[in-house]
Symmetry: D2
Subunit: 360 residues, 4 copies
Amino acid sequence: MTLNVGVVGASGFAGGETVRILSQHPKVNLNYITSRRLVGKYFHSIYPNLRNLVDYQFEEYKVETAQEKCDVIFLATPHGVSQDMVSSLLEVGLKVIDLSADFRLKNPIIYKKYYKKEHSHPELFSDAVYGLPELHRDQIKDAYLVAVAGCHASSAIYGLFPLIREGVIERSNIIIDSKTGSSGSGASVNESTHHPIRANSIRPYKMTGHRHTAEIEQELNLQISDTKIKEPEVKVGFSAHAVNLVRGILSTSHAFIAEDVEVSNKMLFKTYRKAFRGEPFLRLINQNTGVFRLPDPKIIAGTNYCDVGFELDHHLNRIVVLCTLDNLIKGTAGNAIQSMNIMSRFPENMGLEFSGYFPS
Amino acid sequence: MTLNVGVVGASGFAGGETVRILSQHPKVNLNYITSRRLVGKYFHSIYPNLRNLVDYQFEEYKVETAQEKCDVIFLATPHGVSQDMVSSLLEVGLKVIDLSADFRLKNPIIYKKYYKKEHSHPELFSDAVYGLPELHRDQIKDAYLVAVAGCHASSAIYGLFPLIREGVIERSNIIIDSKTGSSGSGASVNESTHHPIRANSIRPYKMTGHRHTAEIEQELNLQISDTKIKEPEVKVGFSAHAVNLVRGILSTSHAFIAEDVEVSNKMLFKTYRKAFRGEPFLRLINQNTGVFRLPDPKIIAGTNYCDVGFELDHHLNRIVVLCTLDNLIKGTAGNAIQSMNIMSRFPENMGLEFSGYFPS
Amino acid sequence: MTLNVGVVGASGFAGGETVRILSQHPKVNLNYITSRRLVGKYFHSIYPNLRNLVDYQFEEYKVETAQEKCDVIFLATPHGVSQDMVSSLLEVGLKVIDLSADFRLKNPIIYKKYYKKEHSHPELFSDAVYGLPELHRDQIKDAYLVAVAGCHASSAIYGLFPLIREGVIERSNIIIDSKTGSSGSGASVNESTHHPIRANSIRPYKMTGHRHTAEIEQELNLQISDTKIKEPEVKVGFSAHAVNLVRGILSTSHAFIAEDVEVSNKMLFKTYRKAFRGEPFLRLINQNTGVFRLPDPKIIAGTNYCDVGFELDHHLNRIVVLCTLDNLIKGTAGNAIQSMNIMSRFPENMGLEFSGYFPS
Amino acid sequence: MTLNVGVVGASGFAGGETVRILSQHPKVNLNYITSRRLVGKYFHSIYPNLRNLVDYQFEEYKVETAQEKCDVIFLATPHGVSQDMVSSLLEVGLKVIDLSADFRLKNPIIYKKYYKKEHSHPELFSDAVYGLPELHRDQIKDAYLVAVAGCHASSAIYGLFPLIREGVIERSNIIIDSKTGSSGSGASVNESTHHPIRANSIRPYKMTGHRHTAEIEQELNLQISDTKIKEPEVKVGFSAHAVNLVRGILSTSHAFIAEDVEVSNKMLFKTYRKAFRGEPFLRLINQNTGVFRLPDPKIIAGTNYCDVGFELDHHLNRIVVLCTLDNLIKGTAGNAIQSMNIMSRFPENMGLEFSGYFPS
């Protein structure tokens, strides 16, 4: 049986990757892609890497068309736009996978704090499932609305959830120092992404107050297991840098070891192996030899894999966690499609086990 | 039915790509990979992008093992090494696809001129088929020895063969100005590829006497059709530059329009469309709008596609031909596997229609 | 004695470099910089590399202010804008060094052909001196209007003029294949210079009809010495590619050896040595060993040097000429200031002998 | 009066930059450069950016020659080599500026812990002055042996010393997340710096146990002012990443606000302004607008400037400090020459106020 899907806002980088991966999915019939700006144009006119491979044409977005042509809709619309589209789509019985930030947070006060406006549909917050498949698999299964996790947030959460879950680290002073490529800034042009300006830089672009801080804390707090003391809550200091790269994020988390916890390398290996067991796309990377001993975006660019590694620093009683993923795939489109697979009872890795190429 | 294949010299960049693509080929059982240096190690220890996806281990190379385990052998050994291995492999009935330069040339004198030594097995020259599937499909079908075309040579030939075939251009003064990424220099380290030295450079590394000159001329001469005058022969001035990139080649050919030939854009479109008709991996790229109007390696990196475009310059009575391909895929491993498909009566595009990702 | 100078349009990349170099010139008092967009702002607010080093503020442009404060005005205004400003500046007795293309060409018909509009002040064509110091030193000395050579044009002319002057090459079929960094596209943003789109590309952005074709031909034709036959005229096929780099141009010229001329390496060395003798900023680079045997933009980025090298290709009866310069310095601001030095009877190399840093 | 200086080990990147900057210093006569590997070769054969500008030739190293020709010797020899050379140089009355790590640490136990061997001349530790001019100006003045600070260490210390000095932050849990370009790995080639492998990566290459940890702690501890409680000592968790860049380091320090200290932006501005007052090469970068609001290596590459900025994060009670410098200049050769200026009673900024170029 084939699933009919549509991608709204398919011209941006996130939408584009969703289209590309869906076009190669064995159980998907992608028969509706929309873009306000590009109605009537061919998808491959702006994604020429797909020339000869697909012949999709951008259409106008209408709920009726979506209803008629699709079972599942991916919203790759800008933040703030999705929230007004979702309810009409849900009403006509469609399942919605939203790639924007609109339905990730559960607390409208936190939403307002970070997004500086009231949400137009907070009543849907309880229906939305946070789209990080490894942590919300069971809820995603029956969800009608999935809010795909943010790319920076994913890279932080994948690296830290095992440590929070096992109570290994202090919760209230976690430092996350993130480095991202330029594709994270989207397809829209501005002075700061002008090649002569952006190339060869390491730009500290959001040191404090990054919106993904809220998601990271929300999700890590959920990982505090019942038998552990709930207080204090997880609080993270998240800082994002833009480096000279197009694809990929590396998050370096610096976490202090919790009081009275004995930590060894062996114990950390066990903690991560337990947390990642059976996960098709989470890989533990901690080699003793070779060039790529720890996670590096070079290795996962173009894939749905997330690589995690760690080092123990007795000097500062610190664990350094490295986590890397492709911001547009495992950080966006890949997790969206992995969620779709779960919702549709397809094998979870279907259409997602492509490898990147190396060296690139 | 599954084809059993082996890759000899699988640790280098060409061998690595061959392994990666074969590992995802639906009709191939890759059960023998060798590397002198890495016997016993896992393939993913040096190609960590394939961790979790493959679990090949490097073995020692022996003809007997090859015979026992394989139907087809890919030789990704250095230039000069293959020539001594091929006959023993052919003797035990294996088919050989050689990625090195050893059997590309048909003329031992030309071989010596460009490679500065006598070939050890010139008697095999007549058995070897030049591995450019689009030009030698029929011979490849029944070949036992395929000599995969060089990466620079491929990019030059794909762009120029339609013009030679139709007698559109002067043959004796074709300029080919090629630009390549650093992966073309292979996996071996030297001072010139040290990152601080190699980055941000445009290095004119081989302006004259490049070995691929010989292949290009040999193959383009074969394209002179019977009804045309055979003289003069094709002679090219090939110059290769290394640019700040890892993957991909762009060849810019500057060819003068032949006397008494009326050339228009329409006529050129027709010429290329005719030559590329039905070809699964040759794409004509000549857009009037957008950023990517002409071929750009950014678009084909990571794929088996070769993009060709042109511009007509009445000012100098010149045609500028742009041709781009991924040096390690369409320029090496991809054409090798496309040849294998032909030899094995598999659909020619089988296992090769993966798309690159964009932006990368 | 100090020279009072001003830079109009000082916010763009060309103007910015002019300001930077002038600020360190021992005989210059830079006391007027203008920008429509940035009146009142500090120069270092957009060129933070100069913070603490200069404290210029952008002013509004007025002829009266220019007259009052300056002896020489540099126009770093867009093409098409300078032509309406020059006459009023000349009228009040100022010397003008125009970095735009407006006064480079001598023939209004050619101007219209390449710039697609009538020039508003063709009567000034005869007053303007083409700002390539090495070729027009004597005229620049007494000039009131210098039209600084285009960056691509400079790289082509510096490489080829010795060969034209000595009658070594055929004139009517010279191929110039140029590669440039992204700073050549200026400070204005557009989709094609968006970092994720522009990075890792080799973009053939102007294969035919490039405006610098006209300058190159004009200037090379002037180099045909009296004793040589004037016909045929120099005609070049100029093609420009954008590579993954910020600073620098490398032009590869492919020229055919003229009939009846005996060419050897020795003869070419002599030809270039003769042409470059005494030139402070033209360097002949033809090493037998080392990584940097031929010109490479990596070596001249950030300097006023222009490096030229060559290889002789008997196979195609061709000379390959490599020429590299920094598009914003020797290709623009540096030649402007070198011209100013000549006009002001300063040592020609004054304020221009800074070295780039390596590796960068 | 001219100072006669020599550079030992002038072929490496650190030595090369020292030579380049000294060659342009108005009071220096550089008349001795050595390299074991390159005796008799010209400096510009490996630093072709200086062709035409200098004509130094590499000589063999001998104490006698150094004594005869020099007043000051710069040692740009590898770590572990300097320690055996210094005493003989001091004995003959030379002043030594050592760019290696050999004499930076004051405590032989710490030295052994981080460098894994006994120091051969610990008796010289008390003579050596740590070569960070801003912090040890008075001692450098009369020093005979200056141990130039490490590049990563400098970037950490410049950002943090004002906060330690004023008691603003907790001392025992400072996180320093550093990002560096590839020139930091030196001129020697290895697999990990091979361009196809190194490009487009973010490599976490030393997460724990980095040798500069010891210098950073030593120097920051010295900044604890007398009136403050001495305990606890400064302890830092230093982690170094290699990013896709050639020149420059950005260190992001995450420090927790000390108990009972009221911190505001205003107070932090005051703290940094006070610490940097009168410093020619330390710049505070905290703009409200523009692309470059915080320090970015793109802005300081090629210069002796060190840019520092900060953000206050009330959410985590954290101060984020950004500090960037050119690893080979302010991080090595520049500080060495700044120290030489101090020792020689030259103006401290002499020969060091060159600007980088932008964009690069």
